[in-house]
Amino acid sequence: MAAAAALEAAAPPSALWGLVHDFVTGQQEGPADQVAADVKSGSYTVLQVVEALGSSLENPEHRARARGIQLLSQVLLQCHPLLLEKEVVQLILFYENRLKDHHLVIPAVLQGLKALSLCVALPPGLAVSVLKAIFQEVHVQSLPQMDRHTVYSIITNFMRTREEGPFVEELFEVTSCYFPIDFTPPPNDPHGIQREDLILSLRAVLASTPQFAEFLLPLLIEKVDSELLSAKLDSLQTLDACCAVYGQKELKAFLPSLWASVRREVFQTASERVEAEGLAALHSLTACLSRSVLRADAEDLLDSFLSSILQDCRHHLCEPDMKLVWPSAKLLQAAAGASARACDHVTSNVLPLLLEQFHKHSQSNQRRTILDMILGFLKLQQKWGHEDKDQRPLGSFKDQLCSLVFMALTDPSTQLQLAGIRTLTVLGAQPDLLSSGDLELAVGHLYRLSFLEEDSQSCRVAALEASGALATLYPVAFSNHLVPRLAEELHAGGSDLTGRNGPAKASRHLRCLQALSAVSTHPSLVKETLPLLLQHLWEVHKGNMVEGSSEVIAVCQSLQQVAEKCQQHPESCRYFHQTAIPCLLALAVQASMPEKEPSVLRKVLLEDEVLAAMVSVFGTATTHLSPEVAAQSVAHIVPLFLDGNVSFLPENSFPSRFQPFQDGSSGQRRLVALLMAFVCSLPRDVEIPQLDQLMRELLELSRCHGCPFSSTAAAKCFAGLLNKHPAGQQLDEFLQLAVDTVEAGLDSGPCRSQAFTLLLWVTKALVLRYHPLSSRLTAQLMGLLSDPELGQAAADGFSLLMSDCTDVLTRAGHAEVRIMFRQRFFTDNVPALVQGFHAAPQDVKPNYLKALSHVLNRLPKPVLLPELPTLLSLLLEALSCPDGVVQLSTLGCLQPLLLEAPQVMSLHVDTLVTKFLALASSPSMAVRIAALQCMHALTRLPTPVLLPHRPQVIRALAKPLDDRKRLVRKEAVSARGEWFLLGSPGS
């Protein structure tokens, strides 16, 4: 044992002798760890271990020798950081020598080399020596899996830090033999290794170095052609990964074959994944070629590569039958998307061709295909910013592109028009491309398209979107050529909508309003459109125009959309708020004034729907205000309502005082809805003046009977303010006031319904912010479920508690809404509801079911699923409840449960089939649809459970096939189709 003998002898302690003996001859495993621990603690050195092993390492018996080496290897695996360089050299010499030994010994030898490959003290050159020895002495590919893994680890350990140059091919051979990975994890695999893990690790090795290129690329080219989909995908993805580290040098010799493979796959495949991976690989190849730095005299491979792509694809673009146009265009676009240079090269070649093809084809759908392709190339241009205007490749095609787009915009085909609109938007986004003349024409087309009729809805919507997008870039063009025409249209069209062409004119008028809001995307345009809209509203109000509430609502909707577009620009936001809000308030206050001769028209502004539309304008115009503007505004608006201070309104000479909270008219009281929309949308840190008085007035108004609109608005406003008010003494006072008001109201006769509404909204405000009082109020609400008068309203109230409001208590309006409030409400209250249901007399049970339905319906399904076992019997009972809301909500709960918990549900299959089929002939269309969706979802249950019901269900479902409503028939068709497939071959 030459190596061991050369080591300086040191007498091993006797304990070590014993341990070595127990391991080698005693075949015990424990001593190895003991020895390693002793070495680590310094009790003895590695040298002494070798010394102690002495005779076993030279034992003529293979197994004993293997055992001896195994002990040494196990110690090294744990103690390699302690080794000195000198020791490493000696040990490597020893192990390399042992590679020649009997095959039984080899596993232990490889383990030792693996330990040594981890040594920091490994001198340069030894890694090469180790690998040389391994590949020379051992046929790695035929080793058992464990040992192949050891060799693999040795290689990866060396690869991390060391040279691999001389062994590229061997390293490639031993790693690439696994490619492509074909592995299915065994059932109950404790390691949890997935096929994808192996694919990714192997890909990381194969694509780790450009030195593998000459071996790997031919392999990939071969495997792309594989019959196996997974092999194809893996090869294309690996090629993609390689391109990240390769350069021109590595790719050069293989480019023609690589291109041929990718082209073949994209042209021929039926699989979208293969196509996508093929395109991704082509993209990476082109990017790689674009990135390489060239020597002055070298050939630019990118040019020749792109030329061959163009050569193979361009003629497909020109085939009259257009069969391979899309794959060809996708290939060209994948290449063009890789770099600015590639994009210019491809685009400058392809665009003239496509422009020519557009004119050669005469059918709209063919033209649309070509325009869609052009659009793809234009979009790629946007990826690359061109510094120099003259270098922009689109410049020379601009006129042709514009005339083609305008041709598309006037085509009768909707699809071609849509493609034209999209292309126009992309052309407009290219800086400095379109001339003012082009823009004038474009705006003219957009104007025309904004007035398209009902059947071209999609085109009209697209034109409005395009107008909005282009108006941010070219406000002047829109201000000059669009806004004046819309203003004229608004004025002329609004004058007589009741005449002979009334409906057509009315719809034209509506479109005009929509177009005005659509272009309000630039601050300068808002300053033109907002006055137009407000002016129009004044004229309606002054009675210059004979119009109903729908006209005012339409204007308000437009205003709301403008307000939404202003939210992004602080200046526009301020402008909108300070212009529109006083104007709308002035109009509303004017309308609420008592009159000697009541005019129907002027009261339009006070109608529920009109006020609701104004409420949404107020909210949208307030949520994004800066604190300063908000403070100014609140200092005007609160005194207006509390003190009748009208001085800030633009036209403020009114015949009498504005006193909505005192003994004002019912019209004045209704305007509290506008106050609500404003104060409940303010940012939380804006201080509200006269808050205490305001809250008391709101409570007072909430008790007002005879006008549910006003009392509800007051209750909502109170609740909205309560929700945002910081905890503390003042909040407690407000709460006490509210509780007293509710209790007093519920006790006495005439105001019970108002008191209930207040209770509901206050409860909601507190539930949202997790206020401790919310549980007491919820309990009170639950108690009302048995109330003969308020029971049904209380049940419906649970829907309000669980749903999102649009006007108050919204996150957008800065309300305090805790994310998990629904889950929390569920956990806190469902047990009580279930208990209440069981305890309740028969006639009020439906109220409990309804309340419960509302809670369950709004709950995220993942939260609901674990609760299923306890609730299921109740839900099944709810299916027999005659109330439509309960039925609908219960079906809505059961449907996802059928999909997600089929095992649990299959226990109740008999009941479910019977009940669903009964509900499938409900008088309510929504219930019929939901019941049929449940019948469809039932097919997810285990087939054996369903088969006994199959004939009966198929017979029963024949009836809804002839339902008078199409939406019901559709569900019946899909449910029945699935039931037919159950247990039938081929399904």
Binding site: L229, A270, S271, K965, R966, R976, G977, L981
Partner: protein, 167 residues
């Protein structure tokens, strides 16, 4: 055929390996009338077309609509008279898949339409080798032959695959 979704017959070569692909129409937009409980909606050509357009082709991973085998203009329906006629156009004149396609359409209609309807499924005149077309139209019209065809497990399997919702 590599990577195709279900629906392949055999595994041999495709008769028409590189068909022209047509765009799918979108979902039918729901109108206000359709959402109104009171208004009855009659069964119209688009509704029938929606039943059959998503049937899978037996040999391509594509629908009959994408292959232009069925088109809305080739659907005739009369709800009051309870009649429906569907003409389909196989991708190539001698397509041996025509029988299967016709059978799939017929079965889909049988499963999806009220029993009162009389159904006629036939090859678009002039688009198929004539002697074959005549025979095929007769087979599809014969109730007992259709029923007998569905007794054949293999045929039923292929038809069911054509009618399965593609995942």
């Amino acid at each position: 055929m590599v990577g195709g979704g279900g629906g392949g017959v055999g595994g041999g070569l495709l008769e028409n390996a590189n068909p022209l692909i047509y765009e799918r129409s979108g979902e039918r937009p729901v109108t206000a009338g359709e959402e109104d409980e009171q208004v009855p909606d009659s069964i119209d050509a688009r509704e029938i077309f929606d039943l059959i357009r998503s049937i899978n082709d037996p040999e391509h991973p594509l629908t009959l609509e994408e292959l232009n085998v069925v088109e809305q203009v080739r659907v005739q329906v009369s709800d009051p008279e309870s009649t429906v006629a569907v003409a389909f156009t196989p991708t190539i004149p001698h397509c041996s898949m025509a029988t299967l396609i016709g059978l799939s359409i017929k079965v889909k209609l049988l499963r999806s339409l009220p029993q009162r309807f009389k159904m006629d499924v036939h090859i678009t005149p002039g688009t198929h080798a004539s002697e074959h077309a005549g025979k095929l139209n007769k087979q599809l019209a014969d109730k007992e032959r259709v029923a007998a065809a569905l007794e054949n497990t293999h045929l039923l399997e292929v038809v069911n695959q054509c009618l399965s919702a593609r995942s």
